[in-house]
């Protein structure tokens, strides 16, 4: 037990005695506290707590906040069902929700309150020069009011790999989709690796978003017009499909997905094991158990890796942990940059302290404790001046179009094809019973099955792809 733990534990013991006093306020709902619903748990939650403690000491006068932060902040972990916190019926509503799926802001806008005027000003072009993308996602197109403040951004097109393993076998990070398939092929065929029980890929298929992320990366790299087209919704019951699911690029993206997952021996632990692995388990499969060579995981995998190597010399981490960007369609094309974000939103009606809290989160130093101590955080505020880990810094650069005032759009396009997470913006069809379920079944149909992806395998995969598409079309048509 280190000193910090000891202090914290001993500090909580007398708390038990006083807790009854506080609870009386809580029972009647009169406690002077801002309730913040978050999706984080464990080390991430701890890091956010440090962020809040740090907020109290920061100078906020330039944001127009002269009064001290004179309220408590209660964190309510909501896990992955956090979106329900906004529209929740009857239940105790949080004052602020840290929404991990920015695409949902539009869906819930009727239940949200716009940011205070100073908040809109803070998000102005002067401070956030490339805020157009945010504006599209977070603002009301009629009034221009912003309904959310980006706090954290996530790079969801990262592939984490074992540097040393790659070096030992003369492998290099792929620069195109076909190179990636070639790399996987090389790894599968390598007898030495097979004897050592090392598979090419770890997959955390127990979490639906992990599956959708891989699919979206492939589609975005393949054809970004189709990616954008899928956002359009035509609620005409007579049309063949209310959304362009049957576009041939969607089919092709699914077939590519099948080529990757369908190969026997690709998935570490096999199909069933992948299906019960969550995203952190997949990261650990690579870096703790060393049974896989790489894993497609967002930048915040950094935190899990940091916990793993925490006690070891930093040189070990430097030699072992590598990251590359999810490959483009071809060597000359731009690679995909799939963006996630945690957005602070205010369920209506918002109290003054809740607004105050959100404004404080926009301070450029707000996220520093998380970035420096826990890792796995890229600040949304372009003016945040942080010391990232080597890998996070590499990924943060890809996001500069969102963050850095100096980057021009053209330069940005070369770095990558930037797009916000698709499934978030698709209403119900992007959720558990839509895309998640369809991809789960797809993986079950084709995963870990074919020794060679030959014509008969491709025929199977294509059939499974159409099953996904038909499920999605049917799903949306039923809900018209």
């Amino acid at each position: 037990m280190d000193r910090r733990t000891f202090l914290r534990t001993s500090a909580t013991l007398p708390l038990a005695a006083t807790v009854s006093g506080c609870a009386a306020d809580e029972l009647l709902g009169t406690r002077n506290a801002v309730r913040v619903a978050v999706t984080w748990s464990g080390a991430e939650l701890e890091a956010f707590r440090d962020v809040i403690d740090n907020l109290r000491g920061l100078d906020m006068t330039h944001l127009g906040l002269t009064r001290p932060m004179d309220y408590a902040v209660d964190l309510i972990p909501r896990g992955d069902s956090i979106a329900a916190a906004i529209g929740a019926r009857g239940t105790v509503k949080p004052d602020v929700v840290m929404l991990p799926r920015p695409g949902l802001v539009n869906r819930y806008r009727d239940d949200l309150e716009a940011l205070p005027r100073e908040g809109n000003a803070q998000l102005s072009k002067r401070v956030w020069p490339h805020q157009d993308r945010w504006r599209q996602l977070l603002s009301d197109s009629d009034t221009g009011q912003m309904y959310g403040l980006p706090f954290k951004v996530a790079h969801k097109s990262a592939v984490w790999y074992r540097k040393q393993l790659f070096a030992e076998h003369g492998l290099t990070p792929p620069r195109s989709w076909w190179e990636l398939l070639g790399l996987v092929d090389q790894l599968v065929r390598n007898d030495e690796l097979r004897r050592a029980g090392i598979a090419p890929l770890a997959l955390g298929a127990a979490d639906g978003w992990v599956l959708t992320d891989v699919f979206e990366n492939i589609l975005l790299a393949l054809h970004d017009d189709t990616y954008k087209l899928l956002l359009e919704f035509h609620p005409d019951p007579n049309s063949e499909s209310v959304r362009r699911w049957n576009d041939h690029h969607v089919v092709e993206a699914l077939v590519r997905l099948g080529r990757l997952w369908g190969r026997r021996g690709v998935l570490s632990g096999g199909l069933d094991r992948s299906l019960v692995s969550q995203y952190p388990d997949a990261v650990q499969e690579v870096f703790a158990y060393e049974r896989a060579a790489m894993v497609v995981a967002p930048d915040f995998a950094d935190l899990i890796i940091e916990e793993r190597y925490g006690a070891e010399p930093s040189a070990r981490r430097r030699d072992e942990v590598g990251v590359f960007q999810f490959p483009a369609d071809s060597r000359s094309g731009p690679p995909p940059v799939l963006v996630g974000s945690d957005i602070a939103v205010l369920p209506a009606p918002a109290s003054a302290p809740a607004k105050d809290f959100v404004m404080r989160l926009s301070h450029r130093g707000a996220a520093l404790p998380w970035i420096h101590h826990a890792r796995g955080f890229i600040a949304a505020n372009p003016r945040t001046n942080a010391r990232y880990s080597a890998q996070s810094a590499r990924l943060a650069r890809d996001l500069e179009e969102l963050r850095d005032p100096e980057t021009s759009t053209q330069e940005g396009e070369q770095r990558g094809r930037l797009a916000f997470d698709l499934s978030d913006q698709l209403e119900a069809v992007g959720d558990r019973d839509g895309l998640w379920r369809a991809l789960d079944r797809f993986l079950l149909d084709i995963g870990d099955r074919y020794d060679e992806i030959d014509t008969s395998a491709l025929r199977d995969i294509r059939a499974a792809a159409w099953k996904v598409i038909n499920h999605l079309i049917e799903f949306e048509r039923e809900r018209l």
């Binding site: 037990m1 733990t5 534990t9 708390l15 807790v19 009854s20 609870a23 009386a24 809580e26 029972l27 009647l28 709902g29 309730r35 999706t39 748990s41 464990g42 080390a43 939650l45 701890e46 209660d74 964190l75 309510i76 972990p77 909501r78 896990g79 992955d80 069902s81 329900a84 916190a85 019926r89 009857g90 239940t91 105790v92 509503k93 949080p94 127990a206 979490d207 639906g208 632990g269 069933d272 094991r273 299906l275 019960v276 969550q278 995203y279 952190p280 650990q284 703790a288 158990y289 899990i304 916990e307 793993r308 925490g310 006690a311 119900a428 959720d431 558990r432 019973d433 379920r437 789960d440």
Partner: protein, 584 residues
């Protein structure tokens, strides 16, 4: 006998004076009873009946959703799964009955074993789900069973397909088996103390006949146990959410969970309500059967608190078998406890990559992180909610129970008892959704008062039944007259306490444990974070294996209070209270 004297006619009645003292001013007394009974009646009407009717109206208002539900493979599967889990519960009760025999004749061992057996009953479904997901973790580095299996070169993925059902069934068994065994054991001992029943039993020929006769003799208790366990199986909710990984949940969702998913994805309340129709109708039907059966039974097998240990004689050979059987059972029940505690005392990083058997200096880091996630705050809130709900519950239940006991033969009593049994069997899913709408409409969502009231109301039918059973005395008996006759309020209270004290304590203890271990009511009425369990599930368990240490620490901490209360009250109050005639 009549005689005539000086024009006066005397009539001598040859029986002793009896009957309760009755007061002339009857109306004030009636009024007082009405006023005292009002809170309970209001709670039942407003928090149970009204929402139930609303659910039924929602469901029947759009019959097409009901046919959709039965036709849709997803809906049909959830229904079949729920049916299967109910069948499993019945089988489990029978198994518990048989195992109760194994634990007899080993009184000295049982003095320790019963605590191990009963302990899981005090822990929540979430705790058992956590323990079993830890044991069945498919990574051989972390999961105990996978570790053992890997010695034999066997690497099954426990948390998928058929295995998942076995994991869920074991977790459910762990929670309920000890309760079933202990209740049956107490009833069997009561038969042993009753010479007439004992001799009837000895006359029965063959093993099967004897067991069947026993089952009939202990029928009321058997029914209560069966009903409690069956309802628990039908309303399974949090166990699935915590124990099954996301992708597996598609294959194991039952009605109680699928209903909730639908409330999340549609705004039309009649779609999820269609799922609940069996939940609202079946308990009322079941209550009819219960009343019909218990009306016939030769009940009165109430269990008294043990004064001295019963000396049950079994042959030497079978004594050894009983000893070994009980020991194995005790050990099996203890394993999840050991796994949970051992994991909790590892550091979060260690617990996320290696099993608890890999030595590490015990540390409180995982507990510290659990507290960091706000465990203390929610413990404080829950303590208040549990306390307030219990006080309201007792205040509301006692007058109704008293009235029902005093007027056992009244024409109102039978339908009232039927309704109470039906409500006691009703899974909370059946009435919670309209309450959510109501609390929002009333604008009181910010306080915990709705939560307290719903908890009190949910526990009310069962509490009334238990208290009524304890207060009931044979009609026109001296006991009945002293209890229900005219006395000062103080004397009434004293007499109630003397008659039903243990039952009152039993109900109090069970209500606190119930509120404490509840997930679904606090989650749906007050939102996550309001109770320790919701906090664990929606916080730490999001990344289960990675957060193993914290999840185990939170689960262990949250179980300390209910388990302690249960163990302290079990033998002296809860067993006599529950067997003392809930259905009399």
């Amino acid at each position: 006998m009549k005689y005539d004297a000086h024009g006066l006619e005397f009539d001598l009645v040859a029986s002793e004076m009896s009957g309760p003292l009755a007061r002339g001013r009857y109306w004030t007394r009636l009024l007082l009873r009405l006023v005292l009974g009002l809170p309970g009646l209001a709670l039942i009407a407003a928090v149970l009946l009204a929402p139930l009717v609303t659910t039924a109206v929602w469901a029947t208002g759009a019959p097409e959703h009901i046919t959709d539900f039965v036709r849709d493979p997803v809906g049909r599967n959830t229904l079949v799964r729920t049916g299967c889990s109910i069948l499993f519960a019945v089988a489990l009760v029978l198994l518990g009955f048989l195992f109760a025999h194994v634990t007899r004749g080993v009184e000295r061992l049982w003095r320790v074993s019963w605590m191990v057996f009963v302990l899981p009953f005090g822990a929540s479904a979430l705790v058992s789900g956590t323990a079993f997901r830890l044991i069945f973790d498919p990574e051989s580095e972390r999961g105990l069973l996978s570790f053992v299996a890997s010695w034999f070169g066997w690497e099954p993925t426990w948390l998928r397909g058929g295995w998942m059902w076995i994991v869920l069934a074991l977790a459910f068994t762990w929670t309920w088996f000890g309760f079933i065994v202990a209740m049956f054991r107490a009833s069997l001992n009561a038969i042993e103390r009753d010479p007439t029943k004992q001799s009837r039993l000895e006359k029965a020929k063959g093993w099967a006949d004897q067991r069947w006769l026993e089952l009939r003799m202990i029928q009321p208790v058997g029914f209560i146990v069966g009903v409690i366990v069956t309802v628990a199986a039908a309303r399974v909710f949090d166990l699935i959410l915590i124990a099954a990984p996301g992708s597996t949940q598609f294959d194991v969702d039952v009605v109680g969970v699928q209903w909730w998913r639908l409330t999340q994805s549609t705004s039309d309340p009649s779609v999820p309500a269609a799922y609940l129709l069996p939940f609202t109708v079946l308990p009322l039907l079941f209550a009819l059967i219960v009343m019909w059966r218990t009306g016939k039974s030769d009940s009165g097998s109430g269990v008294q608190p043990p004064s001295k240990p019963l000396d049950i004689e079994v042959g030497r050979g079978s004594k050894r078998r009983h000893l070994v059987g009980t020991l194995i059972g005790t050990f099996a029940v203890a394993v999840p406890v050991i796994v949970l505690l051992a994991t909790a005392f590892h550091s979060p990083v260690h617990a996320s990559t290696t099993g608890f058997w890999v030595p590490e200096l015990p540390t409180l880091d995982s507990f510290a992180r659990a507290m960091d996630a706000g465990l203390w705050r929610s413990v404080g809130i829950t303590a208040w909610v549990a306390g307030a709900a219990t006080v309201i519950l007792m205040g509301a239940a006692l007058p109704i129970a008293y009235w029902l006991a005093a007027h056992a033969t009244s024409r109102l009593a039978k339908p009232a008892v039927w309704l109470l049994i039906g409500l006691a069997l009703m899974p909370v899913q059946a009435y919670i959704a309209p309450l959510q709408v109501a609390t929002e409409g009333l604008g009181i969502a910010g306080s915990r008062i709705p939560l307290i009231l719903v908890h009190a109301a949910a526990g009310l039918p069962f509490a009334v039944l238990v208290l009524r059973g304890a207060l009931q005395a044979p009609e026109k008996s001296l006991a009945a007259d002293t209890l229900f006759g005219l006395t000062s309020p103080r004397t009434t209270i004293r007499r109630i306490w003397r008659q039903a004290g243990p039952a009152l304590i039993a109900v109090t203890a069970l209500e606190i444990v119930q509120v404490w271990n509840d997930f679904i009511i606090s989650f749906l009425i007050s939102g996550p974070g309001s109770s320790p369990l919701t906090l664990v599930l929606w916080g730490e368990a999001r990344q289960f294996a990675f957060s193993s240490g914290t999840v185990a620490a939170s689960a262990s901490l949250s179980a300390v209070l209910p388990v302690t209360i249960l163990l302290l009250t079990w033998r002296k109050y809860i067993v006599p209270g529950l067997t003392g005639g809930v259905l009399r």
